[in-house]
């Protein structure tokens, strides 16, 4: 089934690397760039955690700290997460659809360059005289206007966010057009792999939310440089409505694709077809609609929005999320679970995201949110969704697909160590934050008074953060090791179920020589089942009537 590798053995020249229209090159460039920003944002977090390890100011001043948390949030949530999921999707959606290429590859390529340029623009704020922006990643007005936060760093932040998110939007348009137009023969909508469906749900949100952030950033730039825009009485509320209408779908945009990827990992490593596919697809679409209807739960304390409505929609999100969890567990039930690294990360995702999801139900209740809002409770909550969810899901996807992309395996041993360190580190870093927040520690502060007795828990959290650093360094070592001595993966190292495993690793320029027939959302599993059925029938023919007497036994796996 696999094609003979037909990639060029020659190293690509710089021009080829930078301007290739191959969706795999664009997707890989986007993913690697985004991971670079992930590490950069992580370094900022470590600087903050180091300062917070003990009460009193040790090595940062307030101004530096304010820049750090602004840039940490901006980097992680705008410059790392949306691009990384778009990068993975640009690489794998065409492969999963059995397509030779992405639709509008030039648009995707342009999107990558705008993203890179925008992200560097945001970071270049550090090089300006006044430093980078320091207004938290949501840049609420009027704190972000020219009177309260003058300086070039702020303007660069606004321009960079707009450019990078324009890039994300273009990449997203290209992926969406591919899903609409380039599905292989036989691949009806309900035979698309779960990851592709999760991208449909994601991109529906991108199509409505991202234009809003572009408009908001344009207005903010005009407000800062030309004339006041958000001045009327409700101006700051309108800004918050616009910003969160982008930024709340955003947190699901960086989560759904990993629900899809984790679903496929769980199915693959349970040797089962994904359980409850249709209901899960419907629940993803409902999930996306609710996600676009909850933005003002960030504004419960403003007295400017309808708290009941947004509390209702936010709590209802538990329904589609619950369906997905049921599908995950249903897939594992009676499976043949193989605990390889992608599966371990996927299980970490299931357990840790659940903490974020359940604490999300808690903060969706206004009377509870009046305490938790903008405290460390919220910091802990969204780190379980974004770290437990997005980052664990991303590493499940990376360990799953790395052999496909590079043709070489990662070390299982290093991967297991990384996963264990990340799991313990995530608990150690973020659980204390729930306690601290409940006890009254606000977010976005460089210091806390010594009389509060918050030192111990903060120190614990800092130790956890350094464990996470070690885990990510192990990943870097693992990648470097694999590039040098990783064993060849072959086309299908895991027993994959979807079309990307039906071609060489790495896939040739136009992805496929031949495509297997697509009769379900797991075409390769169909073939495997067909083969074992045929083998059994051959065995029956040879073994006589014994097997025929017990038809139920046919459902049992071969020992």
């Amino acid at each position: 089934m696999s094609a003979a590798p037909s990639v060029s053995l020659r190293r690509p020249t710089l021009v080829e690397l930078l301007s290739a229209t191959d969706h795999k090159r664009i997707g890989l460039a986007t993913t690697v760039t985004a991971l670079g920003f992930f590490f950069a944002g992580g370094v900022l977090a470590l600087l903050m955690r180091t300062e917070l390890a003990h009460s009193g100011m040790q090595f940062l001043d307030h101004d530096a700290y304010n820049q750090l948390f602004t840039m940490h949030g901006t980097t992680m949530i705008l410059l790392f997460a949306p691009p990384v999921v778009m990068g993975v999707a640009t690489y794998f959606v065409p492969l999963q659809l059995g397509a030779a290429e992405i639709v509008w590859p030039r648009l995707a390529l342009l999107g990558y360059w705008l993203y890179l340029g925008g992200a560097l623009t945001v970071w270049s704020g550090f090089l300006t005289e006044g430093g980078a922006a320091r207004w938290a990643w949501f840049a609420f007005l009027p704190l972000s206007d020219s009177a309260s936060s003058p300086g070039t760093g702020g303007d660069l932040w606004v321009l960079g966010v707009a450019l990078s998110q324009l890039g994300v939007l273009l990449l997203g348009c290209s992926v969406m057009a591919t899903i609409v137009r380039r599905r292989a023969p036989g691949m009806t909508l309900l035979r698309m792999p779960l990851f592709c469906w999760s991208m449909v749900a994601t991109l529906l949100m991108v199509l409505v939310a991202w234009p809003v952030v572009l408009a908001t950033m344009a207005l903010l730039f005009i407000d800062r440089n030309v004339t006041d825009v958000f001045t009327v009485g409700g101006g700051s509320i309108t800004y918050q409505n616009l910003f969160w209408f982008f930024a709340h779908p955003l947190v699901y945009v960086i989560f759904f694709p990993l629900v899809g990827a984790v679903g496929e990992v769980i199915a693959t490593f349970s040797r089962r077809r994904f359980f409850g596919y249709r209901v899960t697809v419907l629940s993803l679409l409902l999930f996306a609609a609710l996600s676009t209807s909850v933005w003002a739960h960030h504004m419960f304390t403003t007295q400017g929005v309808n708290n009941r409505f947004f509390s209702l929609t936010s709590t209802m999100i538990a329904i589609p999320a619950g369906i997905e969890y049921f599908a995950f567990l249903g897939t594992m039930w009676r499976g043949r679970i193989v605990l390889r690294t992608p599966m371990l990360f996927a299980l970490g995702f299931v357990l840790l995201f659940l903490i974020g999801g359940l604490s999300g139900v808690f903060v969706a209740s206004p009377p509870l949110d009046y305490h938790a809002h903008d405290s460390y409770v919220v910091v802990a909550h969204f780190h379980y969704t974004l770290f437990g969810g997005t980052v664990f899901g991303l590493f499940a996807a990376i360990f799953h697909w790395f052999p496909k992309v590079t043709g070489r395996r990662l070390s299982e041993a290093l991967g297991i160590w990384q996963c264990a360190l990340m799991f313990v580190g995530a608990l150690l870093t973020f659980v204390p934050m729930f306690v601290l927040g409940f006890d009254g520690m606000p977010r976005q502060v460089a210091d806390y008074p010594a009389f509060r007795d918050w030192d111990g828990l903060n120190l614990l959290s800092t130790i956890g953060a350094y464990m996470l650093l070690v885990a990510f360094l192990l990943f870097v070592v693992n990648v470097l090791r694999s590039r040098r001595i990783g064993e060849p993966a072959g086309p299908d190292p895991w027993g994959g179920q979807t079309l990307e495993w039906a071609t060489a690793s790495p896939p040739p320029r136009h992805n496929f020589d031949r495509l297997p027939p697509v009769r379900s959302y797991a075409p390769l599993l169909d073939l495997r089942e067909e083969r074992s059925r045929a083998e059994r029938e051959l065995g029956e023919a040879a073994g006589g009537a014994d097997a025929r007497r017990a038809p139920a036994a046919r459902e049992e796996p071969a020992p």
Binding site: H62, N66, R134, W135, A136, F140, S148, S149, G233, S236, R272, R273, F275, G276, Y277, V279, T301, Q303, N307, S311, L312, T315, A318, I319, G322, I323, G330, M332, W333, R334, G335, R336, I337, V338, L339, L347, L351, L354, I355, L358, S359, V361, F362, S365, P366, P367, Y370, H371, H373, D374, S375, G440, Q444, V445, P449, F451, G495, R528, E556, A558
Partner: protein
């Protein structure tokens, strides 16, 4: 407890206990299921790629399950809305449900400005102003509703009183309100703090809270007032 305004902290705790119990139960249930499934259904021996048997879906079961989750959600939403509908709770944040502050409430006008607080008591002619060198103190009578009418001179701030489990934002050009009752006397160092990032010294924008008996409070207002 004074009529007309509930004990926010108690209402928070009542609601929180339900959410907390349900959340912990669900997390434990799923964690146990994951562990049990991994142990029970782990591939034995050689990990060949032979597919496992079994159905790939069970729509009635899934819909039943979704119905159960929807019921839990309905209960939680009902509990939340009941709390918000509670007459005592409704007056805590008048901007939300257009409730009115109770007639007997003490009034304090709160002004936030980077990076300090000012408290004006219009009925007593008292002004308590924080400076760079002095953290302001919000002095309140015990067991009596106090309505804070809050506004800002520059950017958005917020007042969080963790002891009362409550906060509201403070905007420039708008007035937001919150009504709190402290049932007991006491002194809370840094008992209130700015909770909306507002720039350089946001972390230090806090105030102390002192709650006096009604008699002591009256004496204080006579002494500090005109």
């Amino acid at each position: 407890m004074s009529d007309g305004v509930g004990d926010i902290r108690r209402e928070f705790t009542d609601l929180f206990d339900v959410y907390w119990a349900i959340g912990v139960a669900i997390w434990l249930l799923i964690a146990v299921l994951v562990v049990v499934f991994v142990v029970r259904y782990r591939a034995r021996g050689d990990d060949d790629a032979a597919p496992a048997p079994g159905r790939s879906g069970n729509t009635p079961l899934e819909l039943t399950y979704a119905g159960i989750v929807a019921c839990i959600v309905a209960v939680l939403v009902w509990l939340t809305f009941s709390t918000m509908d509670d007459p005592g709770y409704r007056v805590t944040a008048q901007g939300l449900d257009r409730g009115e502050p109770p007639a007997d409430a003490e009034l304090v006008d709160v002004t936030g400005a980077r990076w300090n607080w000012r408290f004006d008591y219009p009925r007593h002619g008292i002004s308590e102003i924080g400076t760079d060198l002095r953290v302001p103190t919000l002095t309140l009578p015990e067991d009596r509703p106090v309505t804070l009418r809050m506004t800002s001179l520059d950017v958005i701030h917020a007042i969080w009183i963790p002891e009362r489990r409550f906060k509201q934002d403070v905007f420039p050009g708008r007035t937001t309100t919150m009504t709190v009752v402290f049932p007991d006397q006491g002194f809370w160092r840094s008992g209130g703090q700015c909770n909306q990032f507002c720039g350089l010294r946001h972390a230090e924008m806090d105030f102390d809270i002192r709650v006096l008996s009604q008699a002591d409070y009256d004496a204080w207002t006579r002494e500090r007032g005109r």
